[in-house]
Every structure is written in C-alpha cells, then in structure tokens.
Symmetry: D2
Subunit: 236 residues, 4 copies
C-alpha cells in the first residue's frame, strides 16, 4: 500500500495571465501616443516595453494576472514554499483527512553529498552504496512511521494527534495561486540558472517544483519570461 516516488507534480489548474495583461496595466500608468492596438501590430515594441518595465523594476504591471497550480510534493518542500507570503495556499489537511502513504525517496540523479561550508555548499554525486542505503533506510522508516500512524488511528486517536509521527518526506498536495511578479520572486530564489545575477542555493526538491512552474508560465507569458531571463532573473 505504501507508495515510494521521486517526482513532484505541478499542474496549471487555471489561469488568467498573458503578456497583454502587462501591456494594458502599463498603459494605464504611462499611456502615451501609441495605443495598445498599435502595440499589437508592432510586436517589437511590446517586447521593448516589457523589457523596459523589467529592467527599471516597475513591478506592479506584472501583478494583474493570476495562475493557480496544483502541486504534489513532500512536506519539507511545502515548508519552504509557505514562507513565500504573497501567494495563496490551500493544502490538504491532516486534521480533516486521513493522510495517504506516499513518500519521497531521492532519484538516482539527486546529488546526495554536501561539501564546503555554509554559504558555499556544493553538492556532489553519491555513490551507488549511498543511494542504496538512502533508499532502504528511508523506505523502512517511512513504513514504520505509517504503521504507527495507522495503529493510533485504529485505537480511536484523532488524526491531528496521530499524524505527529508522520515524516516530512510524506507527500502533501495543495492549490497555490500567484501572479507573475510573485512567481518571478519565487523563481529567483528557488532555481539555479547561469543567467541569474544573484547566487542562490535552493534545495533540489523545491527547484524541481519551480522548474515545472517556470515551464508552464513561460508558455503563458513568453515575452515576460524572456525579459526575466534577459534581466538577471530578478523579480522587478
């Protein structure tokens, strides 16, 4: 019954988000001689305007849009995620529901070994032995924890009490809603990319979520995404 996996899930549930939203919002502030209709006939100017807004940190035009994601990932990922305060969240509740036994074990490509000192950590490949140890140790521990959870539930103990033994490697799921500005801030901290001007060291598992979100977003707002990359991947 226990399920072990190494992937995270990100789905775009719904959205109201396009590059045009950015252009419209900017035009309210600064509308000059050229109308939006003219911008549409002139894609180079649209691109230029979005790039200018990003470069000079006019952040508000990037807020008039909305994306709702469904995310399934381990609790330790959500623990980091929820520190992003502009987003809206609804997460599966361990008080209202019996939690299902789905757990995370790092895949073979996850670098297991940390080197260096705080602020300069580097991660390097684990050996096959290390990977085998992690997989076995985690699975055994997860099974034991979940059995303890079940034992307490069967004895009539409340779900919110019994869950204390469940590990942070347990998968949870949530709805997360944000706008493009909040998403860019998230990506600037939770991905590594050679175009980034600020060094960041996200944990690989939240980066896996971030990468999937970025791919979905890039399709919705390609000009904004390109301007984000072209300006050091920092939120405006």
């Amino acid at each position: 019954m226990v399920k072990i996996q190494s992937e995270v899930t990100v789905e775009l549930v719904k959205h109201s988000a396009s590059d045009t939203d950015v252009l419209w919002a900017a035009r309210v502030s600064t509308a000059g001689e050229q109308s939006l209709e003219e911008l549409h006939k002139d894609p180079e100017r649209s691109k230029g305007l979005i790039n200018f807004l990003m470069r000079d940190r006019h952040g508000s035009p990037f807020e008039h849009n909305s994306m709702t994601f469904f995310i399934s990932a381990p609790i330790f990922v959500f623990r980091e995620f929820h520190r992003h305060r502009v987003w809206s969240y609804n997460e599966e509740s361990g008080r209202y529901r019996e939690l299902q036994p789905v757990f995370y074990v790092p895949g073979r490509d996850r670098k297991l070994v940390q080197r260096g000192r705080p602020g300069k950590y580097e991660f390097v490949d684990g050996t096959d032995e290390q990977h085998a140890l992690v997989a076995e140790t985690m699975e055994a521990s997860y099974r034991e924890s979940y059995a303890a959870y079940q034992r307490m539930l069967e004895a009539g103990v409340a779900r919110e009490v019994a869950r204390a033994v469940l590990p942070v490697g347990l998968y949870s799921s949530m709805y997360a809603t944000c706008n493009a500005r909040a998403l860019m801030h998230f990506l600037s901290l939770r991905t590594r990319d050679e175009r980034a001007t600020v060094p960041t060291f996200p944990q690989r598992e939240i980066e896996m979520v971030a990468e999937k979100m970025e791919a979905l977003w890039a399709e919705l707002m390609p000009l904004t995404h390109a301007a984000f990359n072209a300006n050091g991947r920092v939120s405006p």
Copy 2:
C-alpha cells in the same frame, strides 16, 4: 475644456472568479466522501459548504480567484483605496502624462453636512444654498488650479512639479486587481449595510466605488456573495 462630474466609473476588465473556485480549493483541504461532481448535482450542498467556510472564517479558499477592475474616481478616493495592501494597482501617472481636467463635484443626493463627534458622525442633507455654494466654489477653484498647472507646463516646467497645484478632487484612473477575500475585506470597511455586524463610516465617494464593485462581483460569485451577507459582511 474642464469637465465636472459627480459619478465614478467601475468596469470589470477581466476575471477568473466563480463559486466553483472556492469549492475546489476547499476540497483540496478537506476532501471527503463527496466529489465535486456530486456537489454540482447538489447545489444545496455547495451553498452549505461556502456558508460554513465563511462562518468559521476559513479565508484561504476565497483567495484562488482574480478580478481586475478599471476604476475612475477622484484622487481623494484613491488615497483611501491604496491603503488596502493586498490589492495590486496601476494608476495613471502624473509624472509620465499630462493630467486631464476632469473634476468631482458632489451630486444633489450627497449629504453635505456632518454632525456629531468623532466616531459618531452623522451626515445630513445640505440645503440648496449649500449645494449651490459647493458647486460654484469647487468649479471655480478647479478651473483656477488647472490654469495654474497649464501655465507652468507651458513655461517648460516638468509635469511632476507642476502637478503640485492640482486638487484631490481631480479624477484619476487605475487598474486594481484583487481576489474575493480581499474584496470582502474592502467591502466590509467601505460600505454601509444593515446586515453588517461591524459599524463602519466610509466616505460616500469610496462607497460609491465599492457598491459598483460589489454588484459586479455578486454576478460572478453569487453563492459567496450571499454567504458574505448572511454572515455579517465580515471578511472570513
């Protein structure tokens, strides 16, 4: 050229907002034996679930939606509006644009006279004489201020400097984006309603904006709107 008016404008530019969004978000948290498909077949249960969320102040399910309004109103209204911090704003800029001479004068039904003491103000009708005085005094003052603005612009003075003489009765316009929870909080403070459990004393002009927003929102999310009214018009 100077335009005098007593109305405010509120248009719903775009939205991604429905009662179903609330139900879906709540189901992520608490999903039990009944699926959303079943909820759809059973409107009374949908209504009940939304009412329960509102009553017990489960606020987050009301955040996974988005509405963008175009608003045109006097600057003194926007001054109050911008204190609502969860919203996103893009307002017409007096630094980038020459501002147009459109000004606010209270309509005949606007109560002009304030009685009582702080916290217990009451507004009562002004006399015809008072209304005439206000209309004439405001219009004359507006015209004079705008002429001073023009004189400075013609002398080559920067827009951002010259605008200092423009009055807070000047119309401005903006895009404002929010979710239903933020809108309910706004309405709870900026409207008067006999169903409200908390006393509020909004200035009439921002209430005019709020009433138009509420009417537009009520069409998008009728069950949420009904639950808001049924639970004291307080944000969950």
Copy 3:
C-alpha cells in the same frame, strides 16, 4: 539521548510595544483638542479611545509596535503558524544544522478523541489505555526515525536529504516578529474563548503557543488586550 516532552516554549525576546503607541498613532490621524499629555492624566479617556478604535475596526493604530518571540514547538505547529503572512520568521534550518532529537507526545490533559463531523468536531478525553498507546507508539516511532536520520548522516548523506524521515512531531525553534494587529488576528483564529464572537477550532498544540503569547502581550498592552476581549476577540 532522545528527549520526549509535552510542552511548548514561548519567550518574549524583545519588544517595542505599549498602549501609548496606539494612542500616539491614533492622534496623528484624528488629533483633536486633547493632547496626549492630557490623555495620560485621564486614563479613562485612553481606555475609551482604544476601545473605540477596536470597535470600529480602525486597525492601523495597532500596527506601530513590535514584539519578537522565541518559540519552540513541534513542526506540525509551525506548519500552521507559517500560514500567517504578516509575521516575520526565522526558523532553525535542517539544511544548515543537524537537528536535535526532541519530540512531542501529548500530555495527559490533551483530549485525544475527535467526534462529530467536519466543522463540528468535538474533542473528548482519551482513556488511560489510549494515552499509553500514544505515548509508546510515538516514542518508539520517533526513536526509529531519528536512528534512520543518524544512519544516513553517518554514511555521508547531506542533512537536507536525510531529514526526510524526521517526523512532524520533532521540535523546531524560531524567532517570530509581529505587531499587535497581526497578533490579534492570530489569537482570533488560534485560541478558543467564550468571549469570542466567531467560532474557531484551533488544534490544541498551536493554542498552547497562542495562550503563552497572549499572556506576554497582555502585560505589555493591557488596555489593548482588554479592548480585544471586550469586542469579541476579533482583529480590528
């Protein structure tokens, strides 16, 4: 080495918070004929002003103050805590530090059994047998999980990977900074009290934290605390 406990810790690390801060802030907005010096000579009026602000939901005067708490509690408490977005947090990091084996087991007075249905849950006492089962099951599971964590660390696995097996009953610690308005909002959702006008059902463990915070805050701002209680324990 493993430590089992049933309490939470809350310490007031530092603060700049008093009822006078509220009075001063309110006077900037509304200052009338009476000066603050006069208010000081007339405590009844100070009390009345704070009560008026609370009742009519003038929230901003309650924001110009600051309290920093040190909190030690299980991860499942922090998971709920971090959903409060106006606060500032710095939590012990499982990426930078080896986490210590301190775990939560409910005390004898913690009601263990949940009855009723969602939205109407009631908690009732567990039997001695249930308490014994919970204590034994939890401790055994905690020990096993922590041993698995240690085994992986010893094999050279990175802390951020190995921690996946650690349970949400593990104690963590953090600095949390807020103002009185944010604290009142927190208390309105995370405590039960007969004076509250809105029904809430906080998990007992976060309520234990909330009660300790409330006691510390009540000493700093007694008039504000009294007004909070007198007005239905709802954040203004």
Copy 4:
C-alpha cells in the same frame, strides 16, 4: 496664515533596531559552532555574516526589528509612499481634522525641467524666470484653493467634502513603521546612488524623504547599511 516651504521632515519616533537583531535572527536559522558572544568579540565575523546574508538574499533576518518615523511631506509624496505595502501607516485625516495651510514650493536647487523620453528622463536646472514663475503661480493657486476650502467650511460643509479643492502640494503628516528589509526595498526604489546596480528615477521630493530616513537608519544599523551599499543597494 498660509505657510510655504520647500523642505520635508523626518523624525525617528522610536525604534527597536540594531545589527545585533540581524545576527541573532540568523543564528536561530544557522547556528553553528560559534556563539553570538564570540561574534561580539569578533566584529569582523559579524560584518562578514551580515554581508553574506545580504549578498545571498537571505531576507528574513533583516525583518526582526522595527522603526517608527514621523514624516511631514506633500500629499503627492505620500501618494507614492503608500504604494509600499509592507509598511504600517497612520496619516492625518482630512475627514476628522481641519487641514492646515502649509504648502510645498520647490527650492532653488530642485531641477525643474524634464528632458528625454519615458524611461530615460533627465532633469536639468530651471532658469531664474522659471523658478520665479513656479513660486508665484503655486503660491497664488494654493492661497486660492485654501480660501475656497475655508469658504465651504464656513458655510457648514463637511470637511471630507470641502477638502476636494485642496491641492496635492499640501503638507500632510504620518507615522510610518517598517523593518530594515522593507526600508531597504523602499530605498532601492526611491533614491539614486552610484553604488546602485538597478537604475531608478525617483521623484526628487520622495527622495528627500528617503535620504533622511536612510541617514537615521544608518546610525542604528551601520553594518547592515554598509552591506546594503556594498551589494548594489538592492533589498535582500
């Protein structure tokens, strides 16, 4: 009775803010082998830690502190200021008080003439004639507007109605409370500085406020201020 001035006022009303607050908060997250006491004996390491936090954008340790400023400036400055949403504000209310006739006229060193196009504006000195015109035009317009305000008040019109004719060059005052992270974000957008990595074009009058705030803050948190300057004057 009308008062004309060219300066803004910024006073530090109260604070609980020091570099040590940053160090303590960071230690909760990452505490390693060295204690805070040791850090105190080793100022170079304190400086290094703060610099590391700033460089790698660990923003939260800069939030556990608080500063309350009293600010007096023209309304058009506060209009920009209030778009900063993390701050707390209490502003003088034109609904509760009769506003006093204090108005802004640019000083002789304020560059009056704007050149170039949006996004590339440059400001250059105005001529003596332009300065004279601005001073005369503004003062005359201000006097006229304030007389209109008085005329309506004398006729019994409510303050909140009569104020519509008052210009955005009128001085207002407020309490504004923030933490160092929010202040750095404000400074990054509202000051010009050759050490800044991001181009910004604040209006001079809000920059005058920002510069005074920065000077006060630099005294409270010199290491944090130095790290802000050394890392491109971008908020972490």
